[in-house]
Symmetry: C2
Subunit: 169 residues, 2 copies
DNA sequence: AGCATACGTCAGCCTTGTTGACATTCCAAG
DNA sequence: CTTGGAATGTCAACAAGGCTGACGTATGCT
């Protein structure tokens, strides 16, 4: 597996960016960057009774208003019991509204209330500010590469969900 | 905060890559990609009594053999109690060796045993394989951009730790 | 009528984070 | 030499947020 100093030339093109050293740098970059990525919303949520799980639910409900529980389950990749615990508190606190489906009454469609949207903005603003600063520092070409690599790193199902959110809505 | 459709022109340069839409894509890309990033090691660890916390400890001990507990604490960003619980099991299971410092006997220097190195390779190989595939798919320029954006996204302390691991050792 | 689906919920477990309190060991400064 | 502070270890208690398993209720489809 480990290819050591893989300073190979393949098809006339240098593959120096695929050395174990380069890959390890990528791994550590992901680790450290993800910490920064979640730091600001985490700080805001720490004061309330909420955590990262609530943030994720709020984000994707805002992103796709009216989405069903099952849908959200698939995107978040958690069990319904886990999600339900989070949704229950959000509904109880009046941040999320759960409406029975019209065509299929088994389904519940999820919406943010005004209070929910307000919190979403707060969290989103903080996270976007950091992302904006990073994007600005790195420049457009770097941003394109950033997205390209991340997309290639996703599992197939997640990539589908990502692309669907990005392109269609 | 929210700048809506920020199709501004500033200093003659297009900032279309800084629209809220672009930033949201970046945010969701990080979320989905991180899931893929941790998926393979998580699967391996699920069979054992270990979790992601053990992986992180093993990774950085392998990366900087002989590192002190305090050092590891700073890098991982958790409390000593939290780390200690993980280290205790790893030492008990013979994956990590904790040697009393020679110059300062208060410090414990951490090393992977052979069994520890073996597990590290297993986890690392899985994670590197995915990273390698993503890097190969995206190409060298994308990889450069990827790292650039991630580095810009880190907190100052984490960036320092990242750069130190990357450059000096 | 009967099976499958969508959702909610209860109970219990695990990992991994947190605080707080306290003991030990050692270095260094007075 | 004593004492204070630093580094570490450990115990206890707790919370968030994952998980499985089981069960109940509507609803939809065949």
């Amino acid at each position: 597996m480990s290819d050591g100093r893989a300073a190979q030339i393949y098809g006339g093109e240098s593959l120096l960016f695929l050395t174990d050293e380069q890959l390890r740098q990528g791994i550590e970059a992901m680790f450290f960057a993800y910490r920064g990525f979640t730091a600001d919303p985490d700080r805001i949520l720490a004061d309330m009774a909420y955590g990262r799980a609530h943030h994720r639910a709020i984000h994707f409900i805002n992103r796709a208003p009216g989405t069903t529980v099952n849908n959200l389950l698939a995107i978040l990749g958690v069990t319904k019991q886990s999600l339900n615990r989070v949704l229950r508190t959000l509904v109880a606190d009046g941040l999320v509204e759960s409406r029975v489906g019209t065509s299929d009454k088994r389904e519940r469609h999820l919406f943010l209330t005004e209070a929910g949207q307000s919190l979403e903005s707060q969290l989103s603003d903080a996270q976007r500010a950091r992302m904006r600063a990073a994007f600005r520092d790195a420049g457009p070409e770097a941003v394109a590469g950033f997205k390209q690599v991340l997309e290639a790193m996703m599992d197939t199902d997640m990539r589908r969900a990502y692309v669907k959110l990005r392109d269609g809505s």
